[in-house]
Amino acid sequence: MRRFPIALLLFVIMLPGCATMTAKQAHSPYRIAADGDIVWRGEYRFSPPPKPWLLVSLDEGDTAFAYLKVVSGEPLCQSTFAYSEEPFGVSRNLRQRMKEFYRRFLWAGRVTFDPPRTRPVTVFGREALEATSLGRDPARGEKVWTKVILARRGERLVAFFMTQWQPTNGTFDRDEEKIFQRFIDSFRFLKPSFYQTL
């Protein structure tokens, strides 16, 4: 089965910014547990964010997924947050990987990022790294708030990240970060990854 590069798929979701993109509701093999948690492919379990956040399945066989919220109004903006099993970059060093990640993040959206602000955090009981950065696209009159958390899973790094697009003179909704953090705090692995079984 052909695997679709995760980076490219996430780019498809992240690119439109404040454009009129509608969320794809592709068929995805997840189930809803009795307590309302989502169990994704038998591998992850997490508490879903409240409506109007919409779960987007990226591709068959892929291990990443995203939540999308479209903010009504003019122009139509969107927010996303996602989990990536194979985030941009190659290094297994948190700081180096964060630099590599931001070099590729939203590259096709022609966004220029401020230097990310980083701080150490703990995810899955292990050291992790959080970065926040404001990106700008003056040509389209848009800005994007981003938060990226790189965490360890076995020997490898995984990522949670969020974006919130607004027009240049718009105001960011800081409550979204709280929803994002609750999502991360609820996230559990249900079985070892492919790489952990090698």
């Binding site: 695997r3 590599e100 020997e155 490898r156 492919f194 090698l198």
Partner: protein, 104 residues
């Protein structure tokens, strides 16, 4: 290629190496390797003969098609797949080759 670079430590564990091959000239590949940050070689096959041998150069096409092969230490092709590399498959094959030689 980023996926290969990310997995280099695993390839090393299974006594494997990786190389990319295209019809670009060496200078272009040097720039590409630097841009990607890959530390494995990208091979320049301007004439395309290696692509022909491995079935990656379709008649009339100027570029290679995407294809990944795994050659064991005895020079036998043990895996071949079209399209972008499937890293789970590659690592599964490498693990098998490693176990064949060294035991599980």
């Amino acid at each position: 290629m980023e996926g290969h670079q990310r997995n280099l430590y695993l390839y090393d564990r299974f006594n494997a190496r990786v190389a990319g091959v295209s019809r670009d000239d060496v200078t272009t590949l040097q720039y590409f390797a630097a841009k990607l940050g890959v530390t494995f070689p990208l091979l320049s096959n301007v004439s395309g003969y290696l692509g022909l041998d491995f079935g990656a150069l379709a008649p009339g096409r100027p570029f290679f098609s995407r294809r990944t092969v795994i050659i064991d230490r005895k020079g036998v092709i043990r895996y071949a797949r079209d399209g972008s590399p499937d890293f789970h498959e590659i690592l599964t094959v490498l693990k098998k080759l490693h176990e064949e030689e060294d035991g599980p």
